[in-house]
């Protein structure tokens, strides 16, 4: 039911519209590791963005460090040194609680003060826990209890909808 190409096409249309509406000037695109980077690679190409794609690893900015500790697979973020005053398109695969985006914004702002940031996600699902929302979406869905949506990739990209058995 969730066809990856349909979602990527819709996200591309929404992003192009938003770039005009918000008058983004020479935008810098940033993908959040790992799934967000896969989506961002597609959008980077489709929007003909000239600056290299920025890669963001939010491991050091997560709010659950005291519960889960350091992610052993953390990789350095790769952002250009000049974030100050830039127009940024931030991309993730799934928008769920909003906590990842909070962490990502905190990290970006530690590099400098951007002019504006717009958020594009392939899938927005229910379950928001903090008051943030995406500007552009490939689709918005509501899942049943125990259902989980995940982007798998990078080649080929596919959407996986899982149902977890709930333990009583």
């Amino acid at each position: 039911m969730l066809k990856i190409q349909d979602l990527l096409n819709k996200l591309e249309v929404e992003l192009k519209h938003k770039v005009v509406e918000r008058q983004l000037n020479n935008p810098l695109m940033i993908g959040i590791r790992t799934g967000g980077v896969w989506v961002a690679e597609q959008m980077h190409q489709r929007l003909n963005i000239t600056d290299p794609l920025g890669l963001l690893d939010i491991s050091f900015y997560r709010d659950d460090f005291s519960q889960i500790g350091v992610n052993p697979n953390v990789k350095p973020s790769q952002l250009p040194p000049q974030i100050e005053g830039r127009d940024i398109i931030l991309i993730d695969d799934v928008f769920y609680t909003g906590r990842t985006i909070r962490a990502a914004l905190n990290e970006i702002f530690d590099y400098g003060r951007p002019n504006q940031v717009i958020l594009a996600v392939l899938i927005e699902r229910d379950g928001k826990q903090i008051p943030l929302c995406p500007d552009c979406v490939g689709t918005s869905i509501t899942l049943n209890v125990g259902q989980w949506v995940k982007l798998i990739g990078p080649e080929p990209l596919a959407i996986q909808l899982q149902t977890q058995d709930l333990v009583a």
Partner: protein
């Protein structure tokens, strides 16, 4: 004993007291995580929020420049609150015992002690005695261990040489008094270096040094052959209790690293030194400041590696 104390029930780092007893996978994890901390010094805001709200006390009972400042910077870059205790101005000089000092600091709700002490085993003792939620990091104890220095050296070696399996490392000089050398030897052997060679006069080597897993040479000219990494050690005159050397100039002549002697190692060999350097005693200035020297890189890397160790030791402490 030490390894049980250093790891929690799940095998994760709790205290960092010695390289001894730590598995290769954990050492590699520390090096990998440190990689991601290196770039933080270039950000406009040179901090990550990992240890926000945590309190770290630097307890330095011995003098230090690099270790103390890099520990302090590392803690600050993790957003922890740091208290650096200078023992000469504390109540220890009025006769307060080590344990009483610790108990009083515990009562101030600290989360981590970073300890440097002239007595071997001091950090281990504090880790045994302290409250269960507190982590202890050894910043050098007597002649026993200096594990964070060894890890920053491993990090620097891996940055340049990429892999440990093909490298031959020479540790040169005052091995006898060196806690750094002990920790380096353990780390290099755990990480699988092809060879660890110690080069020193007999009077500056501990008895049965071979049992640490090293080859021994008493001749610098012969010992440097095929070496990829040269680690020079400081002549620790303050710890020498008897005349172990004829003179400093004699020592420099036989064991000092000069440009001419450096040519005997592999052409792409790197030169390291944990500092502080005695120029003209163990190393010539031209080598210390030369193109093969990575001594200042070691200092920069000290921040990233200490961030990684502190972050790992503090994880999950919040809920247990």
């Amino acid at each position: 004993m030490i390894d049980n104390l250093q790891l929690n029930a799940e095998g994760r780092l709790k205290h960092f007291l010695s390289i001894e007893g730590l598995p290769k996978s954990l050492l590699t994890e520390i090096l990998d995580i440190a990689e991601s901390f290196v770039g933080i010094g270039d950000h406009q805001i040179k901090k990550v929020p990992l240890l926000r709200g945590k309190t770290i006390v630097n307890l330095f009972f011995e003098n230090s420049t690099r270790t103390r400042t890099t520990f302090e910077l590392a803690a600050k870059r993790l957003s922890a609150d740091v208290l650096s205790m200078s023992i000469s101005t504390s109540s220890t000089s009025k006769g307060e015992s080590l344990l009483d000092t610790i108990r009083n600091l515990e009562a101030m709700f600290v989360d981590m002690f970073v300890v440097r002490h002239a007595i071997s085993g001091a950090a281990h003792f504090i880790a045994q005695q302290t409250a269960p939620h507190i982590s202890v990091i050894n910043a050098g104890d007597g002649q026993h261990a200096h594990p964070t220095q060894a890890m920053l050296d491993m990090f620097t070696i891996r940055q340049i040489k990429k892999d440990f399996s093909n490298i031959r490392v020479a540790i040169i000089g005052d091995i006898l008094h060196s806690r750094v050398a002990r920790s380096q030897i353990q780390a290099l052997n755990t990480l699988g270096a092809a060879e660890v060679r110690v080069i020193a006069p007999k009077t500056l080597l501990p008895a049965h040094v071979e049992s640490l897993g090293v080859n021994v040479s008493h001749n610098l000219t012969e010992g440097l052959k095929d070496i990829d990494v040269i680690i020079m050690l400081r002549l620790q005159k303050e710890r020498m209790t008897s005349a172990l050397l004829p003179s400093e100039s004699e020592y420099f002549k036989c064991f000092g690293l000069t440009e001419a002697k450096l040519k005997l190692a592999k052409p792409d060999a790197i030169v390291m030194h944990p500092g502080p350097i005695n120029r003209g005693v163990e190393i010539d200035s031209k080598v210390a400041d030369g193109p093969q020297s990575v001594i200042l890189k070691q200092v920069s890397n000290g921040i990233a590696i200490r961030m990684a160790i502190m972050a790992l030791a503090m994880q999950k402490q919040g809920i247990n």
